[in-house]
Structure formats: C-alpha cells, structure tokens
C-alpha cells in the first residue's frame, strides 16, 4: 500500500484520501440511515411519548412526568414486574443446570455425538410463538398427549388443567421454555468448554485429579466468561417474555400471569394508552440496563490461560 502511494505527491494523496473516506461513508450510509430512522428516532420518540397522554387518534397532550407518577399507583404494573422477576428467577436455574449437563454430555468423544447435539438444538430454531402453540396442545386437558400419557400410566386420575392456576401455568410454561431454549445455552457452554486447552486437563490427570475435581477446579472457573454471556442473554430473554404468556395463558387467570412486556402491549395496543405504554417501556429499558451491568460486574472475566 505504502509503495504504491509514495510516488504520489502529498496534495494529490490528501484528495485521494478524502475521496476514499467519502466512498467509505457512502458504503455505511444506508445502514446508518436505516438505524437512524427505524431505531434511534423511535427510541427518542418513546422518551418523548412517555411525557404525554398519547391516544391512537386525536391530539396528544403534554403531561410532564405524570405517567411515571401514575405507575407508582398502578397495581398491575407492580404485580407484572414482580411476576416477570419471579419467572426469570425460576426459569434460569433449570435452563443452566440442564444446559451444563447437556454440554458435558455432548462434549464427550462418543461416536455420533454430533447427531445428538443437533437434535437437542432443534427446538431453538422453532419460533417461540409456534412452540407455545405446540405446548398448549400437548398440555391440553382433553386432547393433549401429556395428560393422556399420564392417565394411561396411572400417574393421575383426572386430567390436569394447567392454565387455570397461576402456579401450574408457571410450571408448564417453564417446562416448555426449557425445552425450547436449553440447546442455545448448551451450545454456548460447549464452545467455552472446547476453548479450554487439553493440556490443562492432562496436567491435572497426571497430578491424579478426579473427573469431579477437573470439572470444579479447571473447567468451571475457566467457563466464567461463557457463563456470564449465557446468563446475560438468558436473563434478558426471560425478562422480555411475552409470546409464551400471550399464547399459553393469555395473561390469566385474573391477569396473574401478565409479564412486563405484556403489560406494555396491553396499554399501548389494547387500551391505546400509548404514552403510558411508552413510559413503561422506558422503565423496562432502565431495569434491563441495570440488570446487565450487575451481571457483568458479578461475573466479570478476570481469568486468563
């Protein structure tokens, strides 16, 4: 590069550089414009709308911070927030324990293990909406095969009606979500495991470390940053839960399974209180931001190998 340009005079080089810079700018321009129009602008507009009473039709009126003040007295807002937090706390451990166990399993050198790895991953590529519909049917009290199997095996005497009780519904949804998403965390953890140099294990084996010791003293500490990434993605995903509740419980019974995003959706698109919905969105954004910072702090990667 330098040899080709050294024959050109400095003035000409600077015009060339400027033209080159302009060309580069043109290459990124479409993506930048798209982001500005469809992402930055809506983001600023969300903040702006959150300060207004904003109906679907008709004039918006400025309210100042009234929407945020109203939130404090909105019982459903608090119960949705608590329900979403509870859901996240309950769904994360099974996903992680199972994903870790599955990653250990598919990390073994068994012949044909790649086929099993692919099979465990398949639910991840199915849409969450579609998988929720699938589980509504599997769990149905009349035509569902899960109740049918349990009845035939004599495990229950009456079909279980999963979605009329908050706790049963929570349990059923967690099962469906673990099925749907565990493969994702499994693959992330597997990639982390495969990045650990074999020599470390061999050295430990020479020193007489058992499988369990190698697991807890070598693998788990070195997987810290992978755990962090998988955890952040999983917690944020759970905190934004909507499809599974909209489809499986429809928020019921008695609005007890309305998540944070569901409450935003109801305000903005069912009651058309779009200003209030925007204020709720901003609060959710702040909560998610704090959550990611805390998690990254706790699990900050300070290991090297």
């Amino acid at each position: 590069m330098t040899t080709a340009q050294s024959t050109v005079g400095p003035a000409r080089r600077s015009t060339l550089n400027r033209r080159r810079a302009f060309a580069g700018f043109l290459f990124v321009l479409p993506a930048v414009l798209f982001t500005l129009a469809m992402f930055i602008f809506p983001l600023i507009m969300t903040m702006w709308m959150s300060l207004h009473n904003w109906p679907l039709l008709g004039q918006a009126t400025f309210l100042g911070i009234q929407n945020y003040v109203d939130m404090a007295r909105d019982g459903q807002f608090w119960s949705s927030l608590w329900f979403t937090t509870l859901y996240t706390l309950l769904v994360t451990p099974p996903i992680f324990i199972l994903a870790f166990a599955l990653a250990l399993l598919v990390n073994t050198a068994l012949r044909g293990i790649g086929i099993f790895r692919t099979i465990y991953f398949i639910p991840v590529v199915i849409g969450l909406g579609t998988s929720s519909l699938l589980w509504v049917w599997l769990l149905n009290d009349r035509v569902g095969i899960i109740n049918g199997l349990m009845l035939d095996l004599g495990l229950i005497e009456q079909p279980i009606i999963w979605f009329v009780d908050r706790n049963l519904a929570m349990f059923a949804i967690i099962v469906s979500i673990v099925w749907k998403t565990v493969g994702f965390s499994m693959i992330l953890l597997l990639a982390g495991m495969q990045a650990i140099p074999d020599e470390l294990y061999q050295a430990a084996m020479v020193d007489g470390a058992s499988y369990w010791q190698r697991l807890t003293h070598i693998m788990m500490p070195l997987l810290r940053s992978t755990f962090a990434l998988a955890l952040v993605l999983s917690v944020i995903g759970s905190y934004l839960a909507f499809d599974q509740f909209y489809i499986m419980t429809r928020g019921g019974p008695q609005n007890q399974t309305i998540t944070a995003v569901y409450w935003i959706f109801n305000n903005s698109f069912t009651y058309y209180k779009m200003g209030y919905g925007a204020a709720l969105s901003i609060v959710l954004l702040v909560i998610l931001g704090i959550l990611s910072i805390i998690q990254l702090r706790i699990l900050r990667d300070d290991t090297t190998y």
Partner: protein, 294 residues
C-alpha cells in the same frame, strides 16, 4: 523416569468392561434425551396426518388408523387460505434476508476497509440496537409505519425486521471483511478492477460464509417473529403464519380444530428445521460470533 500403568494387567479386562458399560449408559442417556427433545415435534407432525376425527379425539389416540392429508385441506379453509399465509411469511422473510444482506455487506465493507470521520461512533450506533430490546420501541415503530402508510404491508413488516437484524448483520460482515487479507483486494485493484467490481466479484466470494450466516439468522428470525407481526399486521389477509395459527387456536375461526392446528404448526416448523439442518455450520458460526441476540 518410567511411567507405570495405573492398573495392573490382571484388572485390565474388568476395566475395559466397566468402560464399555459406561459408554452404553451414556448412549442410553443420549437416546432418551433425544426422544424427549424430538417428541413434541414428532407428535405434532404425526397428528397432522391423522384423520381429523382422530386428531381431535378425547382422550387422544396414539397411532393414526390411516394416513391422510385432510387436516391440511381443512387448514386451507381458514381465512384467506394457508397458501396465502405461507406466501406472506415467505415474502416477509425473503425481503428481510435480501435487505439485511445488502445493507450489512455494504456497511461491513465500509467499516472494515475505510477510514472516515465519526466511523467509530457510527459503528457503535448501529450496534447499539443489540443492547436495546426492540420491544421497547414497538409503539413508535407502529406509529411510524402508520404515518408512511406501511402498516399492514409485508414490506413494512420486513423493514422492521431488517432493522432488528442490522446490528448482528453489520457486526458479522465487518468481521468477515476483516479476515480477508488486504493484499487480495490490492492485487485485484492493481489488475484494473474498479472498487465496485472488486466488491461484487472478488470480495463477495471471500465473505460468502458470513453472508450465509447473516441470511440464515435473518430468515429464521423473520419467519418466526411474533410480537411485531401481531402489532403491525391487523388485517387478517396480511397475517404471517404464527399470527394466523394463534387466531386458529384462540377460536377466531370458530371451535378449535386441533388437527388443522397441527397441520399449520408442521408447515411453520418444517422450513426452519430443514434450513437449520442444511446450513447448521453457518448457524453455529453466528452463535460463536458471540453477538447473538436471542
């Protein structure tokens, strides 16, 4: 120093036996898990080819008495017909794929190869969307789409999806171009290629794996997305498959026809699974990129 075998030779046959038993046990665990993971999809597909009466029988039956595609025919009677919804989903997904590829490839090339003012800030701005959930900007996006008369259009929904895909796409393509040595590019330029021709003929081939990765994610996310489609598409004839199926389930079209619903689920799932099995390598590469938005 001599290394002595850990176990005396007398025990070696029992050790081998134990190892063998361990391997068999692992395979049994693998197979049981595989059945658990595949069962829901298998059961749905099996039910979709049962005669309609058997698909809705209480309690459920296990094996179909005959295999028939009646449920698919019935599915086609809902709303504007299943073909229409497949067309809607496929159109939105394909526009999303091509739009994302074009915008990401251009931007990835620009960010990788050129220096210009505010380059880093612009890059961070494009990537910022990875950190901000789209759920929080859906209300203004809906109003924006209504304002430009694109609410309820396939193109409008695709534009929203392209926006969601751009951060991952640009990041992926920037990295892809970064791995191509500059010498190749310079050689092509010295041979008299124009920048444009070089990008289309030489670089395109070299970054093809990255493009395929971006395309696979764009397709799957557009095909499967639920919330934005639910908000933007309010007219029944423009529904995408997941929204249409939810309407079948919620009794929008009358009593729930479970057989037809399974036919619909099968139609929706099948392209995703096939695409994933064919292009698994590229999908996993995207995951390892570490910048996947779940």
């Amino acid at each position: 120093m001599t290394v002595t075998p850990a176990e005396p030779t007398v025990h070696s046959s029992s050790t081998r036996l134990r190892r063998r038993a361990g391997i068999i046990a692992l395979y049994i665990i693998c197979v049981v898990l595989a059945i658990l993971f595949l069962f829901p999809v298998f059961w749905s597909t099996l039910t979709s080819v049962k005669p309609p009466a058997e698909a809705s029988s209480v309690p459920p039956t296990y094996w179909p008495s005959t295999i028939t595609f009646e449920n698919y025919v019935k599915l086609n009677k809902y709303g504007a017909g299943i073909l229409r919804y497949i067309y809607n989903s496929a159109t939105v997904a394909l526009i999303t794929v091509f739009g994302t590829i074009i915008l990401s490839t251009l931007a990835g090339y620009g960010f990788s190869r050129f220096n210009f003012r505010a380059k880093n800030s612009l890059f961070i701005m494009v990537l910022a969307a990875l950190m901000i959930p789209f759920q929080s900007i859906l209300t203004p996006l809906f109003l924006l789409m209504s304002a430009v008369k694109m609410q309820n259009t396939l193109l409008g929904l695709a534009l929203v999806y392209i926006t969601f895909q751009l951060p991952f796409g640009v990041f992926m393509m920037r990295n892809s171009f970064d791995t191509v040595p500059r010498e190749i590019e310079e050689a092509a330029l010295l041979d008299g290629c124009s920048t444009w021709k070089m990008l289309t003929s030489v670089m395109f081939v070299l970054v093809r794996p990255g493009i395929i990765t971006v395309a696979v994610y764009a397709f799957l996310n557009a095909w499967n997305e639920f919330l934005a489609a639910l908000i933007i598409m309010t007219q029944e004839s423009n529904f995408t498959l997941p929204i249409m199926l939810t309407s079948v389930r919620s009794g929008y079209y009358g009593a729930i026809d479970w057989g037809a619903l399974q036919a619909g689920i099968t139609v929706t799932i099948l392209p995703c699974v096939i695409l994933f099995l064919l292009l698994q390598r590229y999908y996993m590469q995207g995951l390892m990129g570490g910048a996947v938005k779940g």
